[in-house]
């Protein structure tokens, strides 16, 4: 008897509905699975049959064919165990075809028939809702993750037997666990209150957070670069719902949602170590998985000791920084992972770290040049704000005057975010840093006086076209921080200060 059950898989971070068909007929007893399957699915046959038997159903010797369609999509992962088992139960006549219609099944099976959690549930759930399905059956542990999608009934089931009983009898339902109370965990040890002195850094980071601009900090060891970067998390407003969904999908695909499996509300702050490989940073693998740039989507990617990263690793980020996404090409598909990040880099100015204090720094001119040369000009060009930090004095450190804390700054940043959201509602972007050159012409219109100034800047600072656009975007954010709709000369002037002229060929920096 023929049966059909719906399941899903992930392609990139998008869900994809897969139809699992089973046919049980007379003939020589045989069990075969087709449909462009990865090894882990091929070998699941024995596991599924054992699980079904242990759930209390007898499988008579029959000829069984399982097909997963569409047949041109490579299928991997362990989430097909459950739908295959259900399809077989329908084909063997234990369940009716009607009982499984409009439902999606996803889960791995244990030999005893227990249903185990899988990764990427959120993407499948979202796709299921969009495709018009009403019910989703999952492992108990995956229930909360699936339930993030509205307008979809999500059932967490512990055992295949329990699921079969529910499907056999309409009156039975899966017991709903009590709604967990998620407390706002806001134990922030990194607060702007503690970032004393550092006037430039405080201002520059607030601008960066307000418009999600890339930042590069340079300074001797102990200047507070790492601390300044960590403080950023505290001033970034929480994620919007759609942003949350997108990010949670990425974490779900990577299996990084943790035990609680709840939606991510805080903007991510990823700080990979400098020994990270290019694949781990950008994403990739046999079945492409998102990398750190995608895990930091809509948040901060902090690269401490930037010159220590592999040269190729840093340069590989150039394209994602421009496109705001990573596209990984494979022969039969291209996987697109969102990567709209705010890149924060920190570096020492020279191998010993003390340059330009020539009384302390004894590095040769060539050493300094080589060290700074590890960050290419193209990469520097992609930084919106370049700034220098110096260690604070003892007096500044022990200053009794209270600095502004993160909460106050975050409120301001949130207001600027709101402002941008309203302005760009029709544009399909969220922040100033995402403005395209055409959009810049609309939102950063210059008067003739400002144009003269910018021409001077362009020539004096030897800006590239990209550098020029970045400057305008920062100026736009500064204007927004002052609730100013038109771009004024002083905004441009301040933005110029964050654009250090790049090291010249001859003159020592």
């Amino acid at each position: 008897m023929y049966s059909s059950v719906t399941s899903g898989t992930i392609s990139g971070i998008q869900g994809l509905m897969i139809h699992v068909e089973a046919d049980v007929s007379d003939g020589l007893p045989n069990f075969q699975m087709v449909g462009y399957l990865a090894n882990e699915i091929r070998e699941s046959g024995e596991r599924i049959r054992t699980a079904i038997r242990n759930a209390g159903f007898e499988l008579y010797p029959k000829r069984v064919v399982i097909n997963l369609s569409p047949a041109d999509v490579r299928k991997g992962g362990s989430g097909f165990d459950l739908p295959i088992a259900i399809a077989m139960l329908v084909s063997y006549g234990y369940l009716s075809q009607k009982s499984v219609e409009g439902a999606v099944f996803l889960g791995e099976l244990g030999l005893d028939g227990s249903i185990l959690p899988v990764n990427g549930v959120l993407s499948v759930a979202d796709c299921a809702r969009q495709s018009g399905f009403r019910k989703l059956f999952l492992a108990e542990e995956n229930r909360q993750e699936g339930a993030m999608v509205h307008n979809l009934q999500v059932y967490g089931v512990k055992h295949l037997k329990q699921l079969a009983e529910v499907l056999q009898d309409d009156r039975l339902t899966v017991p709903e666990p009590g709604e967990e109370i998620c407390e706002e965990h806001e134990a922030e040890s990194w607060d702007f209150r503690n970032l004393k002195g550092q006037l430039l850094a405080r201002r520059a980071l607030e601008i960066a957070a307000s418009g999600m601009h890339n930042v590069l900090m340079s300074g001797p060891p102990g200047a507070g670069k790492t601390m300044a970067a960590r403080c950023l998390t505290g001033i970034l407003p929480p994620l919007e719902f759609e942003e949350s969904m997108e990010l949670t999908k990425i974490y779900s695909v990577r299996g990084m949602l943790g035990d609680r499996k709840e939606i991510i509300r805080q903007r991510p702050f990823r700080a990979p170590h400098h020994t990270i490989t290019t694949t781990a940073l950008i994403g990739g693998g046999v079945i492409p998985k998102p990398g750190e740039v995608s895990l930091a989507h809509n948040g901060v990617l902090f690269l401490d000791e930037l010159p220590e990263f592999g040269k190729g690793t840093i340069e590989a980020m150039r394209q994602p920084l421009e496109e705001k996404c990573v596209v990984i090409g494979r022969l039969n598909a291209a996987y697109r992972f969102p990567a709209n990040i705010m890149l924060v880099g920190a570096m020492n100015p020279c191998p010993c770290g003390c340059y330009p204090d020539r009384n302390k720094c004894n590095c040769t001119v060539n050493q300094i040049r080589t060290y700074q040369g590890k960050i290419s000009r193209a990469m520097l060009d992609r930084m919106d704000i370049l700034m220098q930090l110096q260690p604070v004095s003892f007096e500044a450190m022990n200053d009794k005057a209270v600095c502004e804390d993160s909460r106050t700054i975050r409120n301001r940043v949130e207001r600027v975010h709101q402002r941008q959201r309203e302005r760009y509602a029709e544009e399909g972007i969220r922040f100033n840093s995402q403005l395209s050159p055409e959009q810049l012409q609309i939102f950063c219109r210059l008067t003739s006086e400002e144009e003269t100034f910018m021409k001077q800047v362009f020539e004096q600072k030897q800006l590239s076209g990209r550098g020029y656009h970045r400057l305008l975007r920062v100026a736009r954010t500064i204007a927004d921080m002052e609730d100013c709709e038109e771009l004024r000369l002083e905004h441009l002037q301040e933005a110029v200060a964050y654009r250090i002229s790049l090291p010249g060929e001859e003159r020592m920096i």
């Binding site: 430039l200 201002r203 001119v365 500044a396 200060a497 090291p503 020592m508």
Partner: protein, 370 residues
């Protein structure tokens, strides 16, 4: 006649390629043979006291194809060469006991009719020192005084660049072959100088920039100049070698003072204590030069631009905080009584106006010339 001259030049050319034999020893041999041509024409074989390995070395060099290749390059005009006996050879050098057998150059050689100042100093120098050297050389260049230096990084490069920007003529004496550019970052400077001024070397083409070669070329720098000005020098610095040569040659010495505790100025300060002229501005140099050259030879016209900056009160406040020495932006922001954003904005504005400058580490300083 013509042939004999060419032979003389080739002998000198060949002698500059005998890099493994100390120059003074070679000079003794040449004198014993009775001239460069005679030494080259088997004269060296009759000399007594040559070690066997020295004989082998000279024998080898006679046939060295590299020398002939370089000779071809000279003929093609890639660079120019003057032997000790040539009229082109600078008179000032000929007097030296260890005058090189020949001199390679690109562009032109210093004009003995014009006054020339050597600006030397540390390679690892501060922005302050570089800016000072630049400003000094610029004014000198504008006053028709040539600037000579070693085309090294730091002070040397700043001096060359300043002189060129001031419209003057500048010469560089290399510590390597004339066809080698060291350090590499000076390539554009090297190219501009070989067009507008001159690049000079006593070493044969292809000579690598070895550390032992650099102190020796300093005697050429001092010999070709009327005065040596040291901008930044540590207690033990190569610039002080130049000063020693200059003293031997009877040249004037000037030094730019620094703070007593600053190790990068220690060498300069000591020179001043020992009697070197204290150089605070270009006029100090010009004054010293006027004692050397007769007034009719060069028009010494100090250019001094004192323009009214025309700053707004707030800009004045920020500007008054700055010094010639670079100051970190946070320190400036702390000192001025303005909101942070306004301070940053005014700094950028002044920078674009060209009144102040910053290094890429956000240290701001006044432009020396304003």
């Amino acid at each position: 006649m013509k042939e004999r001259e060419t032979k003389e030049v080739f002998a000198a050319f060949w002698l500059t390629h005998l890099t493994k034999i100390p120059l003074l020893k070679l000079k003794q041999w040449v004198e014993a043979c009775g001239g460069m041509t005679a030494f080259y024409d088997e004269g060296w074989k009759r000399l007594k006291g040559l070690l066997p390995e020295e004989q082998v070395y000279i024998e080898k060099k006679i046939k060295d194809p590299e020398i002939y290749r370089n000779w071809e390059r000279l003929k093609r005009g890639e660079f120019r060469f003057a032997s000790l006996k040539d009229a082109d050879y600078p008179q000032a050098l000929r007097k030296l006991p260890d005058a090189p057998f020949g001199l390679y150059w690109k562009g032109k050689l210093p004009n003995p009719g014009r006054s020339c100042v050597a600006i030397v100093g540390a390679r690892k120098s501060t922005i302050y020192g570089q800016e000072f050297a630049y400003g000094l050389a610029r004014e000198l260049g504008g006053s028709k005084v040539d600037v000579i230096s070693g085309l090294a990084a730091g002070i040397d490069a700043a001096g060359h660049r300043g002189c060129m920007d001031g419209g003057g003529i500048t010469y560089g004496v290399l510590g390597c072959g004339i066809d080698r550019i060291y350090p590499k970052e000076n390539i554009s400077l090297y190219e501009k100088m070989s067009e507008t001024g001159g690049v000079v070397s006593e070493y044969c083409p292809g000579t690598a920039p070895l550390s032992i070669l650099f102190p020796r070329r300093n005697r050429i720098i001092s010999a070709l100049s009327d005065m040596v000005v040291v901008v930044e020098a540590k207690e033990r610095s190569g610039s002080l070698i130049t000063v020693d040569f200059a003293l031997e040659q009877g040249k004037e010495i000037g030094a730019v003072p620094g703070r007593p505790c600053d190790p990068l100025s220690l060498g300069c300060n000591r020179l001043i204590r020992q009697g070197a002229k204290c150089i605070l501005e270009a006029e100090d140099v010009l004054e010293e030069l006027s004692g050397i050259i007769t007034a009719s030879e060069a028009v010494i016209r100090p250019i001094k631009v004192k323009k009214d900056l025309g700053l707004a009160p707030k800009e004045k406040m920020v500007y008054s905080c700055l010094r010639l020495e670079p100051k970190f932006i946070d320190d400036i922001l702390c000192q001025i009584d303005l909101p942070v954003w306004e301070g940053i904005q005014i700094l950028a504005e002044l920078e674009i106006k060209g009144i102040i400058k910053q290094n890429p580490h956000q240290y701001y300083y006044r432009c020396p010339e304003s």
